[in-house]
């Protein structure tokens, strides 16, 4: 059986990671987003496909991203997600919120 050492993505942060990825890469498909997060995090963060696609749907519903079908480099059809201005705003809000929470957690756990 194949076992991989991986860490759960903290709840609520997946959409922030996806938005940041799209902000960095420009339009990208689901597979590319998952791969990118995994690579950048040195394989620490494993994106569950079962969570990724629902998260993408939710962002579509909220209007943070739009989706469009187009060709990949090796000529396959794939759905590319693109950040909207509303998504960009949401990303900034998420990041500052996350930083705040992380700072606070850090204060709590640092050695006295």
């Amino acid at each position: 059986m194949e076992r991989e050492r991986r860490s759960e993505i903290p709840p609520g942060t997946l959409s922030m990671l996806v938005l940041k990825t799209l902000a960095r890469l420009g339009p990208m498909h689901g597979y590319g987003i998952a791969e990118h997060i995994q690579q950048i995090s040195d394989d620490v963060l494993q994106v569950e496909e079962g969570s990724l696609y629902p998260a993408l749907q939710r962002m579509l519903l909220k209007g943070w991203v739009t989706a469009e079908w187009s060709q990949t480099a090796n000529n396959r059809r794939a759905r590319y997600y693109k950040l909207t201005p509303a998504g960009r705003k949401q990303l900034h809000a998420d990041i500052s919120e996350f930083a705040k929470v992380m700072g606070a957690i850090h204060k709590v756990i640092q050695p006295a």
Binding site: E49, P54, G63, R76
Partner: protein
């Protein structure tokens, strides 16, 4: 948010494409994974459950719960369509129940609950007592409490002439000039009445007409403005009797010529639900509208209803108290300088503040009349709906039994119990919704019927059926409620299934369902017993009232109401002319006997007097000297057949100038003379001084069946103690009154052309009109009572049949062991009898409790009326035993051999 909703809608429309795209996206992802990992299986494992992913996405777009409801509803419709007989019975009985409830509710809402359709109705206050015009003027002058105050007088019957042609009788209202401004009602065309219109008597000949009248009479033509109409009010039962008529020169007048200045907005119906004036006239036009009766200056003519608007910052109780103080001062000032300490105390004790009430719903005279009968009707139709619910609950329970296999199958395949209950409830709600929708037709028909039946209730009540938001809201609410009431218990019971047992066999342990069914049937029996007992009580009340001995024979008795004052007669000429008319009536063909009196019989007018003194009697309180009276023509008692017990009746001797005489009734004789002979005794009034008592007459019910006979005396029409205002001829016809009535009208017209059109009624008809509410309740309850018992019997029959079917095997064994047929019948009938006894006892207990609450509606019997109770018990037993016997007989025919092989 809106953008999100929009995206959801777009999703809903393009759902198939959405799902295709999601699949393609998933496939792409899997392909990529496979390419990088080299194995399809590994890629799949990495990806996870594709179906779950799809479901989660679908859920996310948020229509799933609604969709599920829709699927449930569609499934429910299919289920119901598969059982058309059940669905039809259920929907029809619901439609009937919901329709009847909605019809009664519509009436209650209109007459009792709704606020007037004017601006800020909550600021309105009304005085619950009619006033004289001078007193109203004093109130208006001294008022510092209300921002404005107006006087009104409703007239149910006015003769209206348009372009020289009589248009029949129309209702109208005399109102102060500021009336429309006070209510905040603006004309839809033209103008409303203004303060200038009622500056002085007969100065403002303007009229505003209702929207309905405008459409009906003038075809909604804008040319109606400036049109002149001739209006003549009929003196009616408006509280103006017992009134002295002044005025020296009789003035010949056809009424008031008025110019239409505006049309009231649609929906505005005046100030009292149940009264719908079509023409509003300045109140100062009264002497012209009702010729010969100068009420504006008469301090003893009480006819003005008062309505006021308080400022938004003055609380109701404060307005009430302050205005009561003003009113009290007016009463003291009316006494002049000579107010005694005694009178002052009396005035101080009057509960004036209590007479000043909220006017948000307008004047409430009609409301007081109808609140009790309407509440009873609402109760009756409510119970009918309850029975329909219980019946359907029972049917659903039976259906659940036949569907037990299906339900067990669903449960074992993993359906949640809540999910199943929701599904079954959806089915009930679909039924209820269908019943409610079909109920609209019943509600409409019921409303028409009610209005037709209520038309005789004192004044015409013409209610349009309003399918407005309130009525429809009520209908939707009770439909929903009924759906839950009859659906919930069966749904819970149906899903309480022992899986293994049910799937194995048809299952024998349905005792829970059977217990619930029995409880439902017992409740049905209880409710229908309640209705049956009620029907008995109301029918017997109606019978008692209709057969009440009024003291004279009402058959073939005609009342002809003539208005000599309106034609200009004054003083002694009134009596002389009416006597001449009586001579002419007496010789008409078909007339057997005729007489006349001021108030007539069941005519809606009565007179009262505070006696100053009765010889030999010491009053305990002021009230002891109150008595009612009538002023009668010669031969009144002998013509009507009211026996004179002592002395003589009033006859030709009793003329102006002769000794003033009076005949008193039995009740009055007993009260004042305690068995001593009153003949030759004297009594005194303030107005005319002493009268000699010359006779004692047997008590008669002149105006009402329910009143216990009041103290009453009679004086000669030619020796009036109070101004004569009208004449009612009591005429007994030899045969059919119809032709005689026609003749009478013609005779009055030929006697004096100036006399207003007379009113002619049969006394029986007037009596029946006074019993409209009683008749309505009796009819409806005796219609619904048997219907209820029939439904309960069907329920009982169903339960017993089911019990027999379930116990076929047991009964077979019993018979195989030697039980005979009659024993088997007795066993089943005993079971049915137990249900009947429990339900019946509960119903009778309820009937007793409710009966005591509404005992004022009964007449001649108490709430514990043995006849009604026994009748209900007999009907219940016969119907119930029949419903129990049929299944029992079937049980007795069971062949033990077949039964033991059964299943």
């Amino acid at each position: 948010m809106i953008a999100e909703l929009w995206r959801r809608i777009v999703y809903l429309i393009g759902r198939n494409r959405f799902e295709r795209e999601l699949s393609e996206e998933t496939r792409f992802h899997l392909d990529q994974l496979e390419a990088s990992r080299g194995s399809r299986d590994s890629a799949r494992r990495k990806f996870g459950n594709v179906t779950t992913l799809k479901e989660v996405s679908r859920e996310m777009w948020g229509w799933s719960s609604i969709e599920r409801l829709f699927y449930d509803a569609r499934f429910a419709v299919r289920q119901l369509a598969a059982a058309p007989a059940f669905a039809t019975i259920a929907i029809l009985s619901l439609a009937f129940g919901i329709g009847a409830n909605t019809a009664i509710f519509g009436l209650i809402d209109h007459l009792l609950l709704r606020q007037l359709p004017v601006s800020h109705p909550e600021q309105l206050m009304v005085i619950d007592a009619i006033q004289s015009y001078p007193r109203f003027e004093a109130m208006r002058e001294r008022n510092r409490v209300f921002s404005s105050i107006a006087g009104v007088h409703y007239m149910p019957e006015m003769e209206v002439t348009i372009d020289g042609a009589a248009t029949g009788l129309t209702s109208g209202e005399l109102v102060s000039g500021n009336y429309f401004a006070l209510l905040g009602v603006k004309a839809s065309i033209g103008r409303t009445l203004l303060t200038e219109d009622d500056r002085s008597a007969e100065s403002g000949s303007a009229a505003v007409i209702s929207d309905a009248y405008w459409k009906r009479q003038f075809g909604a033509s804008p040319g109606v403005l400036g049109k002149k109409i001739l209006v003549r009010g009929r003196i009616g039962n408006s509280g103006t009797s017992g009134l002295t008529v002044f005025g020296k020169a009789p003035r010949q007048s056809d009424g008031a010529v008025l110019t239409i200045v505006g049309v009231a907005p649609p929906g505005f119906f005046g100030d009292q639900p149940g009264h719908y004036p079509e023409i509003w006239i300045p109140i100062t036009m009264q002497p012209a509208v009702i010729p010969g009766r100068p009420f504006l200056t008469a301090p003893n003519a009480v006819w003005v209803s008062v309505i006021g608007r308080r400022g938004p910052d003055i609380p109701e109780f404060a307005a009430r108290a302050s205005f009561a103080a003003i009113w009290r001062q007016i009463l003291i000032d009316e006494e002049g300088g000579s107010v005694t300490a005694q009178r002052r105390r009396e005035i101080a004790q009057l509960n004036l503040a209590g007479s000043i009430q909220s006017g948000a719903r307008g004047f409430d005279r009609i409301r007081k009349q109808v609140v009790a009968p309407l509440s009873v009707l609402m109760g009756v139709v409510g119970l009918v709906l309850l029975i329909a619910c219980l019946n359907i609950a029972n049917l659903l329970l039976a259906r659940a039994t036949t569907r037990r296999h299906e339900i067990a199958m669903r449960l074992s395949l993993g359906a949640g119990r809540l999910r199943l209950i929701r599904q079954l409830l959806t089915e009930s709600l679909v039924l209820a919704a269908a019943g409610g929708a079909a109920g609209i037709a019943f509600a409409y028909a019921g409303n028409q019927l009610l209005v037709a039946m209520l038309r005789g209730l004192g004044q015409p009540i013409a209610l349009p059926f309003e399918t407005d938001s309130r009525t429809l809201g009520f209908m939707a609410a009770i439909s929903l409620a009924t759906g839950f009431i009859f659906g919930l218990a069966p749904a819970i019971s149906a899903t309480r299934v022992q899986l293994s047992q049910t799937l194995q066999a048809a299952g024998r342990s349905a005792s829970a369902r059977s217990r619930m069914a029995k409880a439902l049937v017992a409740m049905q029996i209880a409710v229908s017993t309640l209705l049956l007992v009620g029907a008995g009580l109301f029918l017997r009340t109606l019978y008692n009232l209709e057969n009440e001995n009024v003291g004279y024979d009402p058959h073939h008795l005609i009342i002809l109401r003539v208005d000599p004052i309106g034609a200009g007669y004054r003083g002694d000429a009134v009596g002389r002319s009416m006597e001449t008319l009586l001579q002419r009536i007496r010789v008409l063909p078909g007339v057997r006997q005729a007489t006349f009196s001021e108030n007539g019989l069941f005519s809606g007018t009565d007179s009262g007097e505070d006696l100053k003194e009765v010889e030999g009697y010491t009053p305990g309180s002021h009230d002891d000297l109150e008595a009612r009276f009538d002023q009668i023509g010669p031969g009144y008692f002998s013509s009507l057949g009211i026996p004179i017990l002592l002395g003589r009746e009033i006859d030709e001797r009793d003329r102006p100038g002769a000794t003033r005489v009076a005949v008193i009734n039995e009740t009055m004789a007993k009260f004042y003379f305690h068995g001593a002979n009153p003949i030759g005794g004297h009594m005194t009034t303030d107005g005319v001084g002493q009268m000699e008592i010359v006779g004692v007459a047997r008590d008669a019910q002149d105006h009402d069946f329910r009143d216990t006979p009041a103290r009453r005396f009679y004086v000669s029409y030619f020796q009036p103690i109070d101004g004569i205002t009208t004449a009612n001829f009591e005429i007994r016809s030899a045969g059919d009154p119809g032709p005689v009535m026609t003749e009478l009208r013609a005779e009055v017209r030929s006697f004096d052309r100036n006399l207003p059109m007379p009113r002619v009624h049969e006394v029986r008809e007037l009596m029946e009109d006074s019993l409209v509410a009683e008749r309505l309740i009796a009819w409806l309850s005796s219609f619904f009572g048997p219907l209820a018992i029939l439904l309960a019997a069907i329920g009982l029959y169903g339960v017993m049949s089911y019990a027999v079917a379930r116990r076929t095997r047991e009964i077979g064994i019993r018979m195989a062991l030697g039980a005979n047929r009659s024993e088997v019948i007795a066993m089943i009938v005993r079971e049915a009898g137990l249900l009947l006894a429990i339900g019946g006892a509960a119903g009778i207990a309820c009937a007793f409790v409710f009966g005591r609450l509404i005992r004022s509606l009964f007449f001649g019997l108490s709430a514990f009326d043995p006849v009604s109770l026994i009748a209900a018990a007999i009907v219940l037993t016969i119907v119930g035993m029949l419903a129990g016997y049929l299944p029992a007989r079937r049980a007795s025919k069971i062949d033990p051999i077949i039964a033991l092989r059964y299943e």
